[in-house]
Amino acid sequence: MNFLLTLQEIVLSSGFANLSYKQAIMIVVACVLIYLAIVKGFEPLLLLPIAFGMLLTNLPLSNMMHPELFLKEPVDYNNVLNKGGLFDLFYIGVHKEIFPCLIFLGIGAMTDFGPMLANPSSLLLGAAAQLGVYVAFFIALLLNYVVPGIFTPQQAASIGIIGGADGPTAIFLATNLAPELLGPISVAAYSYMALIPLIQPPIMRLLTTQKEREVKMDQLRTVSQAEKIIFPIVVTIICAMLLPSITPLIGMLMLGNLFRESGVVGRLSDTAQNALINIVTILLGISVGATTNGDTFLNIQTISIVFLGLVAFGFSTAGGVLLGKLMYRVTGGKVNPLIGSAGVSAVPMAARVSQVEGQKANPSNFLLMHAMGPNVAGVIGTACAAGFLLTVFK
């Protein structure tokens, strides 16, 4: 052993000597995402862990994630445990859908379905706002005529679901149908969710008249606790019966909501909303981010996903607003079409956008509670869309 030789070895095995240009680009991208999450407030709860996972996985030789271990079915878990890095172990929770389901448990415990129960037609708006899911799927497949072989139907379906504006559902579907695209799909989904206040208003104004936007809606009726308790049980049975493949996601969402509304398991509801969802968010965020190494991320697919995600959000917004216009007609002007755009979920941001746009048209307008109906319905709608796509493509 020799002083200088040892030093040299250390230097040669350092990351500086092994950095590829793609990794360097990805490190910059990760730093930009961290900037957006912290300074611009882009969905930081998920984008910050995702971006940091992206940073770590692209540091040369860090060796913390090997997405390839999970791409061949059946996965050899003994191999994953022996060869895998730290993030591979976290990623098992994503790959086996444990994390998205537990996040939905927490979201269920945080969600008040009251406004939707008070106005069941909200559910139709929540359904209409899935339009972007299918349109983006369709366009993704059309892209094969431009770049042959760019997306399989499974990949197209996973990209389409970005339009549902539901992170865990997008991750659930992508993990099942196109795990190789999990990274770009989740980054796109969370980024566009943060951009909803910029994306939606122009579309909403384009599709509605001033008169429609001025509509003030009747106050919502009070929903009894019994209705709120029965609701999650009914939804579980109906949704799981119609589309069995989505049972894990919808079941956990509704269990969380039952924890909340039952009033007898406050400590479980509290843990589902706090400790559990936070722990899972950290582990899921990091490991999803860590799937984005330079080679798989920097390509034409990722750029297309960024474009298709925007298309998806746009058409979902339009779908909701258009059905809102139809309801405006049918009800003789009792429904303000602006609440339709809230059907894309992204709870509660999309509902706030409806509120803001409504007040711009008519300062005495207070649409928020009405928009919360389609908003939470959109979560169920996206889960159903995901269930349909799973049934068809898995």
Partner: protein
């Protein structure tokens, strides 16, 4: 996958989602009617949280066995305040405090003048 098939997926997919959520809406409407019809009985039924795990004995002793009503109805009295302002005040308090509106209870809102 040919374009025609993709288009069929688009159509069937939208249809399934619309039908499923319409079905849910119908069931909710029916359920609401049933619940409201029998509401007086049910409303009194929900039991208090009965912890499954050991807890301080003396405290436990004070808890009754019988189920009792949770979250009794609350009437809000307004003084010199219109409903809109009241709604805004409630929203602001909820926002500032981070407590969901459903869990806040306002007994009265009064203009300071």
């Amino acid at each position: 996958m040919p374009v025609s098939d993709a288009f069929i997926v688009l159509l069937v997919g939208m249809l399934i989602v619309m039908v499923e959520l319409a079905l849910l809406a119908a069931i909710i409407i029916i359920m609401s009617k049933i619940v409201r019809a029998m509401t007086k009985q049910l409303d009194k039924a929900p039991a208090p949280e009965a912890p499954a795990s050991p807890q301080p004995a003396a405290a436990a002793a004070a808890q009754p066995y019988a189920p009792q009503a949770l979250r009794q109805e609350q009437s809000l009295e307004l003084y010199n305040v219109d409903e809109k302002t009241a709604a805004i005040i409630m929203a602001v308090v909820s926002d500032e405090s981070g407590i969901p509106l459903g869990e806040l209870s306002f007994k009265s809102i009064k203009a300071i003048d």
